[in-house]
Amino acid sequence: MRTKVIVFLLAAAVAVSAGALLLRGGQTENPVARITRDGVLLEEIDLGRVAKPYSLALEDESGGNTVLVEPGRIRVTEASCPDQVCVNQGWIDSGAVPIICLPNKLMIEIVGGGGDLDGTAG
């Protein structure tokens, strides 16, 4: 009897560990776009659940950016900044490279989606 209890508890422990590992390592969830300004989260958009394209106007005293959201991807279409780097970057659909509008301190990054990169240089 006691042996059975031990075996059961061990099996439970293994199951809990395996479950925890799977939950953490799986990364099978949808890609999520996180839009932050100066580190503060403005929007979190599950790009896997976008049914049809829409745009967002993000404005504050540092400047404005218009963001276009489509199923699976996101981009900046208009910006008040002089360099237009964020607009020129175009669409992103993975965590490879975030969109950064330095003058407006706006950052759009994609997390999740099963990417296997830890960072990008360039």
Partner: protein, 344 residues
């Protein structure tokens, strides 16, 4: 009873094992005209790791002010305005300047910290771009000469009319400072992103595998064409696509050739350098971009003491990597059919 205790401790062990790849401590800050972020996996004391993170983010802001050529009364603006008079600078500035000048010398001036007046003339500092006339460029190029900078201890003398900017090495230096901080605080696993152009891996990932870092495709800057595995290694990329403007259909980028004071057109669209030193990565990626593929490859062959490897992408999309990246370099998904030339 004792058996039950054993079972409980076994359970606890299993739970601990499953939890040992815990969530990292992360932080982001705007510094040196870019977004920098740190990802730290510390020991059991999460609060201590958070303190290290806060110190790092604060340090980045401090280094930004210290090493900036733009801000009003810092060492570099003071030196740049001194009109040929010697200026006392802080120990860190003189130390970095010394190391930067060494890189300028070893690269034969392909890297030159005195190109600041030219960078300003093109409008890359204020993002108010213009194309200087050929006569203006000739005049600017004549005043780019790292060899004219004199450093004696903490006293620096710069000839009148010349100006220094450490932008090509500051991020790399900051990366080395942060990596040192991580190691000194027993953080054995960290990824320090100094604004994408420079990334430093402290140790490998928790669990021991190397960090996987992508290299941006210069032709499609939203994607990456290759992955480099890094453990206790830094990586830096310089590319014409990073900062540029277009006028009359011509693209002018921020990496200038010190010989011409104009954007370096060497046939390359990006250079990535992998080395234990982030400062080396940062400075050499710029220098190799200016040199071009052939001269850059020769430089790699001639300087094994710099302990670096490189990946070159040419404007026509050719990919070249040095032999030392064997086993650490792979093409990314969607790029598997691209040819990679190995430089021996």
């Amino acid at each position: 009873m004792r058996r039950a205790r054993q079972v409980l401790s076994l359970l606890a062990c299993a739970l601990l094992l499953s939890g040992c790849q815990k969530e990292p401590v992360e932080g982001t800050t705007f510094a040196m005209d870019t977004v920098m972020s740190v990802t730290l996996y510390g020991g059991w004391d999460r609060e201590q790791t958070k303190e290290v993170r806060d110190w790092m983010l604060g340090r980045l802001g401090w280094l930004d002010g210290l090493l900036s050529a733009v801000d009003g009364d810092g060492d570099l603006p003071t030196l740049n305005r001194a009109g040929g008079q010697p200026v006392e600078v802080s120990e860190r500035v003189s130390e970095l300047l010394d190391r930067a000048l060494e890189l300028c010398e070893i690269t034969g001036g392909a890297l030159d910290v005195t190109a600041y007046p030219a960078i300003k003339a093109w409008g890359f500092t204020e993002e108010e771009h213009r194309v200087p006339s050929p006569a203006e460029l000739a005049e600017l190029a004549a005043k780019i000469d790292y060899a004219a900078v004199e450093v004696e201890g903490e006293s620096v003398t710069l000839p009148a009319g010349m100006e220094i900017d450490l932008g090509a090495v500051a991020k790399g230096y900051a990366g080395d400072v942060l990596a040192e901080t991580a190691r000194a605080n027993d953080i054995s696993s960290a990824l320090l992103d100094l604004g994408q152009s420079t990334i430093v891996a402290v140790g490998g990932k928790p669990g021991g595998k190397p960090w996987r870092v992508g290299i941006v495709d210069p032709a499609r800057p939203g994607s990456y064409f290759a992955v480099v595995e890094l453990a206790d290694m830094a990586m830096g990329t310089s590319g014409g696509y990073q900062r540029y403007f277009e006028q009359d259909g011509v693209r002018y980028w921020h990496i200038l050739d010190p010989d011409t004071a104009a954007p370096a057109r060497s046939g390359l669209s990006s250079v990535t350098v992998v080395s234990p030193s982030a400062l080396t990565c940062d400075g050499l990626s710029t220098a190799l971009f200016v040199m071009g593929l052939e001269e850059g490859a020769d430089f790699w062959r001639e300087h094994p003491e710099l302990e670096f490897e490189a990946v070159f992408v040419t404007e026509d999309g050719g990919i070249y990597r040095t032999a030392g990246l064997e086993g650490r370099f792979s093409l990314a998904k969607g790029y598997e059919d691209r040819e990679v030339t190995v430089l021996e």
